[in-house]
């Protein structure tokens, strides 16, 4: 019983680690403070759930969720390409809310607030991931691949360019680098992997509804990324374990379950404010949030 509980937490941590690492590509490496990242997660989850409901093979649906999310990443980058600072963040927040509102109201497609139930467990070329244990193995493999690819990207010369855009976009332009293209691609990469994380989530929980992807849930992901440190992949992963693992201690205190939810959210908010106040570079970060 206890071990089933730990496996559940582990799967959630793996999924959020992907989400945090992918957000770090946009915020930490490219310098795009995207407050609408949760929307890509949601788009991925819905894409995968709806496709498999319509008999699309799981692996295809998984890939499609990443691709579809990154199409939205392209869209968001396009419409906000000239904004910066507060205004960029607020526009991305707005984007997150519009996506949420569409999920909630396009009932014909998403079944609105009722959500989509009975999302099937993945079947990958005969490997049927029925139990949580096998799902943990599968999700961990995917996470490892994603983190490896992102690591390769950020350590490459291309990754350096993303960082150049973050540090001084005009300076990068003067060197002949197309910063608009780089910003768009940075956000698309970030969205792609968030979409994959969404698919992993949907097929694990097997039920999704819009409330999971409301903008207030962006706090958790931001807490993970900032506590881990901007532009640190290792930081994001370790931080996901700490930030999501810690509140689980609440379960061992005798509290009614209706209190645990809000208390978790409050803990995330408090941690985020404290880290901004006392250690804004986080545990492993080398750059400042500006």
């Amino acid at each position: 019983m206890l071990s089933a509980f730990f496996i559940h937490i582990a799967v959630i941590i793996v999924i959020y680690a992907i989400l945090a690492v992918s957000l770090n590509v946009a915020v930490g490496y490219t310098g795009l403070l995207n407050l609408g990242h949760i929307a890509f997660f949601g788009i991925g989850a819905y894409t995968s759930a709806l496709l498999t409901k319509n008999d699309v093979p799981y692996i295809m649906a998984l890939l499609a969720s990443g691709i579809f999310a990154s199409v939205f990443g392209w869209l968001l980058a396009k419409i906000t390409s000239r904004l910066k600072g507060d205004y960029l963040s607020l526009a991305t927040l707005g984007f997150g809310f519009v996506v949420y509102a569409v999920m909630l109201n396009w009932s014909k497609l998403t079944r609105g607030p009722l959500g989509i139930a009975g999302i099937e467990k993945p079947n990958i070329f005969g490997w049927y991931l029925k139990g949580s244990g096998s799902y943990l193995i599968f999700a961990s493999i995917i996470a490892a691949i994603i983190i490896f690819i992102i690591y390769k990207i950020v350590k490459s010369r291309y990754g350096r360019l993303l960082e150049a855009v973050r540090d001084d976009a005009i300076g990068a332009q003067a060197l002949g680098k197309n910063i608009y293209k780089l910003k768009i691609q940075g956000l698309m990469i970030s969205a792609f992997f968030a979409g994959i994380a969404g698919s992993l989530y949907a097929h694990y929980i097997s039920y999704i509804d819009p409330s999971t992807f409301f903008i207030s849930d962006i706090i958790v992901i931001f807490t993970i990324v900032i506590v881990g440190g901007l532009a640190s992949l290792r930081g994001s992963v370790i931080s996901a374990i700490i930030i999501l693992g810690l509140p689980e201690m609440l379960r061992f205190v005798d509290l009614p379950s209706s209190m645990i939810g809000p208390m978790r959210q409050m803990m995330f908010a408090v941690i985020l404010i404290l880290i901004l106040m006392f250690k804004p570079r986080g545990l492993f970060g080398k750059i400042d949030l500006e």
Partner: protein, 242 residues
Amino acid sequence: MLEIKNIKKSFGGVKAIKGSDFIIEKNKVTALIGPNGAGKTTLFDIIAGLTRPDEGHIIFEEKDITKKEPHKIANLGISRTFQQVRLFKNLTILDHLQMVEDNKDMGLLKNIFTNKKRSDKKYEQVLENFGIKRTLDTYISDLSYGQRKLLQIAMTLEKSHKLLMLDEPVAGVNKVIQSDIENLLLKLKEENETILLIDHDMEFVRKLADHVIALDAGVVICEGTPDKVLKNKKVLEAYLGE
């Protein structure tokens, strides 16, 4: 090589450039002088595409580049420095030198899976040529101001270019680095580089420039040989009248 045609620009009602016309000739050093606020840097930004003029045209090698994006202008061969250095503070010297080498880093997929060997030798040579006594792995945030200024000039020169635009290359550096940079510029002149320069040191301008353009309050008040311009009454007034 570069033609500035009737450029006008105002910021929120304040006219910064009130119709400038001049030509930068190939293989010549042209100096842009004038008191602070004369519009020199604004003009640089307009040429580089960072600021869009309200009126007028910029013609580079017979092509109208007025509405081109900054990176496209840079890739046409206009290489510039900024008065306030614009480097990437969380990256290393090596990263910077690699960036100016070519634009192959723009390809995402090509870069992820190909691990090209670092050719440190070449880059170390650049550092030596410009007198930057630091290792390639040094972060920009650890460099002194003078070193940053040198690195920026090094990058501007290393980048393939036809026209160099230098915005106060010696402002804010110590005497030693100042004379290093000035010697470097004299050498560039000998090598027949095309240079557009903003500088305040009139003695040095007299030594380096083939052609001087004096700007005041957004208009060209005088242009010609250094001797002619630096003796011009209006120019002297503009400077002393500050």
